[in-house]
């Protein structure tokens, strides 16, 4: 079940226009204004194609761990591991994450090489709302591999009554 970011604050917009109702309404309107940037931005597929530099993006070899249901979008733990011997001749050069509905598609790009030993990275990301995330791995031979995940965010990130 996904909750739209403005559902949490919708109640603040009801009621007569009185001083207290106006304050509550103002908080609601501010919250909606903070969410609006999520609408118009370069698409996820465009960002993926840009990373791949015109090369074909194949599904596979990337193990992408991200919880399917998240109780707060402010800090979502992610782990990406890529099958690769990580030798000088055959290794992962970059691992990147892109999203569908945050204000911008880029999230993080890791640069690796044979000194890494393993292609395994972890971090924490922000998710503004329920959406699709793509993990991409670029190999030393130029091939690009990917994995996708759909995440349901029950409370959006970056919305807070700053008091």
């Amino acid at each position: 079940m996904s909750a739209e970011p403005d559902t949490v604050h919708r109640v603040a917009l009801r009621g007569r226009l009185g001083r207290r109702a106006l304050l509550a309404g103002a908080i609601g309107i501010t919250a909606l204004a903070m969410v609006r940037p999520a609408q118009a931005r370069p698409g996820l597929d465009a960002a993926v194609a840009d990373f791949a530099g015109g090369r074909e993006v194949q599904a596979g070899r990337v193990r992408f761990d991200i919880p399917p249901l998240v109780e707060n979008g402010n800090a979502v733990g992610v782990s990406i591991a890529v099958e690769s011997p990580m030798t000088q001749l055959d290794h992962v050069t970059r691992i990147a994450l892109f999203n569908e509905k945050n204000p911008q598609a880029d999230m993080v790009v890791f640069h690796l090489g044979p000194r890494a030993g393993r292609a395994a990275v972890s971090t924490r990301v922000r998710l503004a709302t329920s959406q699709t995330i793509v993990a991409l791995a670029e190999m030393s031979d130029g091939s690009v591999w990917s994995a996708r995940a759909n995440v349901v965010v029950t409370l959006a990130a970056c919305i807070e009554d700053l008091l």
């Binding site: 994450l97 993080v108 922000r126």
Partner: protein
């Protein structure tokens, strides 16, 4: 800013070691609106670099989607005893560096 680095103190030559780093930083996205209606300016860490005896072995480009107080975990091969240095650079170009020693048998 306070940082926390988890690296094994010793390792066998050729062993793949896990490194976990965390640094206190608000990672202000630049998309948030403050109480007076103006946008809170962006202030994030944009780059993280790990060098092993001066040679870069791992790096990351960070965007506003990285959570506050960023945690970055990765691996590296313990080739020889030496110094692991971690550098975080923010939007203003300022860099914070921390180093730890590793003993490789």
């Amino acid at each position: 800013m306070r940082s926390m680095i988890n690296v094994p103190k010793t390792a066998k030559a050729g062993e793949i070691i896990e490194i976990k780093t965390m640094i206190a930083h608000p990672m202000e996205t630049g998309y948030r609106t403050g109480t007076n209606g103006t946008t809170i300016p962006r202030n994030i860490i944009t780059r993280f670099v790990c060098t092993y005896d001066g040679e870069e072995v791992f790096s990351a480009d960070l965007f506003p989607a990285v959570a506050a107080n960023p945690l970055i975990a990765f691996t590296t091969v313990a080739l020889r005893s030496g110094t692991l240095t971690f550098a975080w650079t923010d939007d203003s170009g300022a860099t914070q560096s921390e180093s730890v020693e590793i003993v490789v048998a």
